[in-house]
């Protein structure tokens, strides 16, 4: 039985997998049809016909993860690390009969590489589905508070 705590635990677990660079474990959290979306507009509705920073399916996320470990991935020499600081997720929907599980979580994200450290903040919205006993990510939407600012490289995942 999926409870609100199951959703919250899932979100904390996801952040832990990213912070500990367990990339395969993180990919396993996605539904085969899952998407990772970073909009480029305020309250953006359309990921495809409006510009986005990222809108990627599992294939593209696998490419990213595999690239991070690549022998000739020079932008990962030295490697990046990340840190997620999450506010308690706000449960938006937890309806087992309808199969709808949604949460919105305020975050501060830190990405560091070499001597450089960058900090970002925003909200992440999880749209989850139940598969067997587990939850899987249907859509992870990352809204940066300053989506319209010019950033340098963002190489890991918020």
């Amino acid at each position: 039985m999926i409870s609100e705590k199951t959703i919250t635990d899932f979100i904390y677990r996801e952040a832990e997998l990213l912070d500990t660079m367990q990339w395969q474990g993180w990919l396993d959290l996605f539904h085969p049809e899952g998407r990772y979306w970073m909009p480029l507009e305020w309250q953006q509705q359309d990921p495809v016909l409006q510009p986005s920073l990222m809108y990627e399916d599992l294939l593209l996320l696998k490419v990213r993860v595999e690239r991070l470990a690549g022998e000739r991935t020079f932008s990962q020499k030295p490697k990046s690390r990340c840190h997620h600081l999450l506010q308690a997720p706000q449960i938006v929907a937890c309806d087992a009969t309808a199969g709808v599980f949604k949460a919105r979580t305020s975050y501060i994200y830190t990405e560091t590489r070499g001597d450089a450290l960058e900090r970002y903040s925003g909200w992440v919205s999880h749209d989850l589905v139940q598969v067997g006993d587990d939850l899987k990510i249907k859509l992870k939407r990352v809204d940066l508070v300053n989506f319209d600012a010019p950033f340098g490289n963002i190489q890991l995942f918020m």
């Binding site: 490419v63 690239r67 600012a149």
Partner: protein, 446 residues
């Protein structure tokens, strides 16, 4: 001590036939001189007329480092101004775009200006009577950039009063913009959204040179495009048709021979493009319905001619790159000697299927975003170059690939696609537009 100021000789000596001195990338004085000479002497992209569709619409931009403001006047004309109030210098507009209504109103003391820049009203006007205000520059309103050309909706401006005319400056290179616009069945492009912005900690010229650097994709992008191809083959097998995403990534891994035969075309004044015979954009899947629309609009012969021209990257010297086949313009905006803001715009082909716009947006976020793995590869190289160039063992950058003794400057030619001649072409133009008004400045200073 100024090493290069008022010294056209010293500036010209930084560029040899096939080498350039590292100071062009790392010396803050050279950067200052680029802002004072090179950018004001050149025709610089300001924006697109579709961003100014109604009277009162405005956009803000930078020419070099100078903030400007472009507006659509009530009579339909487009004007470009320096973005400062004639009173005390406050910027008139601070947003990237908007509509100001019938007039601009300065937020500090409420001087107001018509959308053609002329002074409309000053509060307590009586206080200026008998002061000689009528003879001041302030009385003329917003200072105008006088040399403005709107070419097929692309707004360009040259800050300096004298210099090459728009036609002489761009010449035949405008054919890439023509091709991009002609790809719309309605012959019209539209800016629908904000650009993707990406901050680069490197000199702006490294980005411009990289646009025609065809010997780097298969090396530097092995990590991104190469991995994309590898994962795709493993996960889906080669039998199925590659999805749009893989179609966009895969051509980056094309071998040297591909780029060699696809060719580079150079034009005078530092313009040039890769992908003369074919390009990495040639083999994308057809978009249902599009060809029919084009044939209906242009006739079959002309439609095929337009779509058969699949240029890769066209550099418009000094600091934009246009991709006609994917409807993208990248603007390399200089911030400091080691800092460049890249704004990558996508144009919608008016009247064409949504799928084409979807593909252009996808390409833009795959290649030109701070979250783009291809972008990560490139920026890493620029940053390493910016640091590496501070070393003193060798102070020259080598641009010798396929150099031939006695190369004509300002030539129009089609050459081997792995040549570094377009980079040499850019540096020839760089010296020209850096030094063309240096002597006048010398006279003025003496």
């Amino acid at each position: 001590m100024a090493k290069y100021r008022r010294n056209a000789h010293a500036v010209a000596a930084l560029v040899r036939e096939a080498e350039v001195h590292r100071d062009v990338y790392v010396d803050p004085e050279i950067f200052e001189l680029e802002m004072e000479h090179l950018f004001p002497n050149s025709w610089i992209y300001v924006g697109h007329a579709s961003q100014l569709s109604k009277p009162g619409d405005f956009i803000t931009a930078n020419i070099g480092r100078q903030p400007v403001l472009a507006s659509r006047h009530s009579d339909g004309s487009i004007h470009v101004f320096y973005n400062r109030c004639p009173h005390k210098g406050v910027k008139i507009a601070s947003e990237p775009c908007g509509n100001t209504g019938k007039f601009f109103r300065c937020p500090y003391h409420a001087w107001s200006f018509k959308t053609d820049g002329s002074l409309l009203a000053i509060p307590l006007k009586k206080g200026y009577e008998g002061t000689g205000f009528g003879d001041t520059q302030a009385n003329e309103g917003l200072s105008k950039v006088r040399n403005v050309v709107v070419y097929r909706d692309f707004i360009f401006a040259r800050l300096n009063d004298s210099g090459l005319s728009f036609k002489d400056y761009f010449g035949e290179s405008l054919s890439t913009i023509d091709n991009m616009v002609d790809r719309s069945p309605d012959g019209k492009l539209a800016v629908m959204a904000t650009p993707i912005r990406y901050m680069h900690t490197c000199n702006w010229k490294m980005l411009v040179e990289n646009q025609t650097d065809t010997c780097h994709p298969m090396v530097a992008h092995e990590s991104s495009a190469g991995t994309a191809v590898k994962v795709w083959k493993r996960e889906q097998g080669e039998a199925t048709e590659a999805p749009m995403a893989v179609q966009l990534y895969a051509p980056f891994m094309s071998p040297y021979e591909f780029y060699e035969q696809s060719g580079i075309r150079i034009w005078p004044n530092g313009h040039g493009h890769t992908g003369v015979n074919n390009s990495i954009h040639s083999n994308y899947a057809g978009i249902p319905g599009y060809l029919d629309q084009m044939v209906a609009a242009y006739g079959e012969k002309r439609a095929l001619e337009i779509l058969g021209e699949v240029r890769h990257n066209t550099v418009y010297f000094p600091n934009i790159m246009v991709k006609g086949a994917v409807q993208i313009l990248r603007n390399f905006i200089p911030i400091a000697v080691d800092r460049t803001l890249v704004e990558s715009w996508v144009y919608r082909l008016v009247g064409a299927p949504d799928k084409l716009y979807e593909r252009a947006l996808m390409y833009n976020r795959f290649i030109n975003a701070p979250t783009s793995i291809v972008g990560h590869d490139d920026l890493e190289m620029y940053e390493r170059a910016q640091e590496g160039l501070t070393t003193n063992g060798n102070q020259w950058v080598n641009l010798q690939r396929l150099y031939e003794a006695g190369e004509q400057p300002d030539a129009t030619a089609v050459i081997n696609g792995t040549s570094e001649r377009q980079m040499r072409n850019q540096f020839h133009a760089w010296v020209k537009f850096m030094t063309m008004d240096m002597d006048q400045h010398v006279e003025a200073a003496e």
